[in-house]
Amino acid sequence: MKSCLIVDDSRVVRKVAGRIVQDLKFETREASDGAEALDACRQQMPDAILLDWSMPVMNGLDFVRALRREHEGRKPVVVFCSTENDAEHIGEALRSGANEFIMKPFDADIIESKFAEVGLI
């Protein structure tokens, strides 16, 4: 089973996204900020990462840049999932190493569509 790390400082978002991703047949783990996420990746690199932007300690953008410099850091498919919905933020995320971008609010259909877009399902 593929694994997905869900990174968001909101517990509610982690739970909701987690359920949707589990329905897509992923095993899930959670992290509440970029630093925790990096630790989780160092323990075991996930196949997919659903990533918020604004988080304390380390935000999503800094996380993905750091991730891509890690050993095996190119492996996970990174899908941003953020309220920063303007072209500049989206472009910056894609340039920094994200594979896809989901604008919040999202629904299960969008997550499925975006996961299919990047070949996760």
Partner: protein
């Protein structure tokens, strides 16, 4: 909903658009007619039926039939077909295009995502791929309001994320202050939008090299499906190709329309357009 009310609406739908609404789908009726009910200040579908019985109103009847049709669509739906059309079919058509033009018809194209998806693929192929030949895409829908939406090229926050990658969204759409996204002028200008009922002759739309009629006719009665296919096939150019949805088939419905031997999923005419008939 009372059975008689449902039956009258179902009959109106059948007559107006060929749509078959089974009793199990009666819940769709209230939902899809809600905005007409609101506008007319009516509380229920039975009021609408009473009005039409008191005084037949063909304009309202047409509007109701159109509102009842399914508008469900997304970007890059069944993208294998779209990619085959863009990368295999269009280049071949371009080679024999006599007046430097290729015409594509997205029949039942709803809010325009299918047409825009094809335009995006063509754009990504680059000018040389089609030897400078212009592609004109016409998208039609039976519903006036849906066509107006398609014409605007504006999509809501949820629709813009279904089937469309973030990269393509940034490349071809601009975010509006309303959080909606609007197709670029360059993209939108390749697409013409018309309101058209597949139950009627499509002669006025002209001839097409490619016709996409995907997942549109499945909800129709068999007679209506045949009529829609016949009307569409009559607009196929000599070596034009018609495509249905991946799980749909036109086999045995129209005499003179056969599965293409060259392109999987495509159908072409093996008779003159005027000689196409309903299969016995």
């Amino acid at each position: 909903m009372e059975e008689t009310v449902f039956r009258e609406i179902a009959e109106l739908a059948r007559k107006g658009s060929g749509q078959h609404i089974p009793p199990t789908k009666s819940y769709l009726v209230e939902a899809r007619l809600s905005s007409i009910l609101r506008r007319e200040g009516l509380s229920g579908v039975e009021d609408l039926v009473a009005i039409l019985n008191a005084r037949p109103d063909s304009k309202l009847s047409i509007e109701i039939a159109a509102a009842l049709t399914s508008k469900r669509t997304r970007f890059f739906s069944e993208r294998g077909t779209l990619e085959r059309v863009a990368k295999l079919v269009l280049p071949e058509v371009a080679k024999r295009a006599r007046d430097g033009r290729i015409r594509v018809w997205c029949a039942g194209g709803s809010t325009g995502q299918e047409a825009l998806s094809l335009a995006i693929l063509i754009n990504e192929m680059g000018k040389e791929a089609l030897e400078g030949v212009q592609v004109e895409i016409v998208t039609t829908d039976i519903c006036e309001r849906t066509s107006a939406s398609a014409r605007s090229g504006i999509f809501g926050h949820f629709e813009i994320q279904k089937g469309l990658s973030a990269r393509r969204m940034l490349a071809h759409f601009t975010r509006l202050d309303t959080s909606e996204w609007q197709a670029s002028h360059a993209l939108a200008s390749q697409i013409g939008v018309r309101t058209h009922n597949l139950m009627q002759s499509a002669e006025g739309l002209g001839m097409f090299d490619v016709i996409l009629c995907r997942n549109v006719i499945t909800d129709m009665t068999k007679d209506a499906r045949t009529m829609a296919l016949l009307n569409a096939a009559r607009q196929l150019s000599e070596r034009g190709l018609l495509f249905l949805g991946e799980t749909e088939s036109a086999a045995g419905l129209i005499a003179g329309l056969e599965p293409s031997r060259a392109i999987r999923g495509g159908y072409n005419r093996n008779v003159d357009a005027g000689d196409l008939t309903v299969a016995a």
